[in-house]
């Protein structure tokens, strides 16, 4: 596998720009993928990520049962698969098979990495106090992987109703911020 371990202290830089992500889960031999845009960083290190996983999704059940998932970050090259996963339910199909995505074993969790995504964040559920009211999970990233060949990932950013903004140019400004 071409991916390299990525420092947990830098994970925020992958999620802060707000990319659409694909959350993979697995339980008792069944795996699933959910497309998600409602996530935010909550702490730098250990990296905490807050996200909404609706209880109408099959991934909600797998996440609650296992308390584990992988956040996979796709780019424009697989935009059709990203939308496909977002429009189908894993209760009725194997999304890896249906959308020709490749599951790869993770190192710390049972949920698989999606090979076609340029970055993968192995996560454990850290807090479920806001699940009942908002379906809001706090995840801790415990292991991160990145494809070092991808320099300017053309991440997808949902604008509603199938419209996506694709990551454009990068600019550098003088800043004291992390």
């Amino acid at each position: 596998m071409a991916k390299k371990s990525f420092p947990l202290s830098k994970v925020y830089a992958l999620l802060e720009p707000g990319p659409v992500v694909m959350v993979s889960t697995a339980s008792r031999g069944r795996s699933n993928i959910m497309t998600m845009s409602w996530h935010t960083m909550m702490e730098f290190e250990p990296p905490l990520v807050g996200c909404v996983v609706s209880n109408r999704n099959y991934s909600f059940d797998l996440l609650m049962a296992t308390k584990e998932c992988v956040i996979n970050i796709p780019t424009k090259e697989i935009a059709d698969k990203v939308v496909g996963c977002g429009n189908a339910s894993g209760a009725k199909m194997d999304k890896f098979e249906t959308f020709s995505l490749t599951p790869k074993p993770a190192s710390q969790v049972e949920a698989p990495l999606i090979k076609e995504c340029y970055a993968n964040l192995e996560c454990r559920v850290a807090d479920t106090n806001m699940v009942d009211e908002y379906c809001f999970f706090v995840l801790e990233v415990i292991k991160a992987w990145i494809d070092p060949r991808v320099k300017d990932p053309r991440t997808l950013h949902h604008l509603g109703k199938g419209n996506f903004m694709v990551a454009g140019e990068s600019i550098k400004l003088k800043s004291k911020m992390k």
Copy 2:
């Protein structure tokens, strides 16, 4: 003012792509601006937004005191002001004056709108249960404004250490999603 009222049911499309935002607050004649990237949609309608406002920030005190703020969405044209506000503390200066930003009265809250931002979301704090542990606020957007002249806003997306991705091209894919 050139801005038009914007339907609350469409607010998610402004925040889902993950833009850097500027949070304005005001209390007892003092106002402030905080640059923020750690936010997520939590519900479509009424629109709920979860966000982290560190208790090391002056904005935390104003937000806790008033339970109101405005989320303002800037674009590349004012990137220097966005970074400037992120690197300074409002405890020691008036950021509107320092960074030549124009406060405009909001309709539902005391906190001012930032005129130079293409969209403004007037918010009330809806839930503070996660503030002690994570400085995480749940906000309800109660009024939204947008500049109808801005068609493809070149929003900023933080990549860490002063690097920003600028919103690029938009693509349209067939989708059943909101």
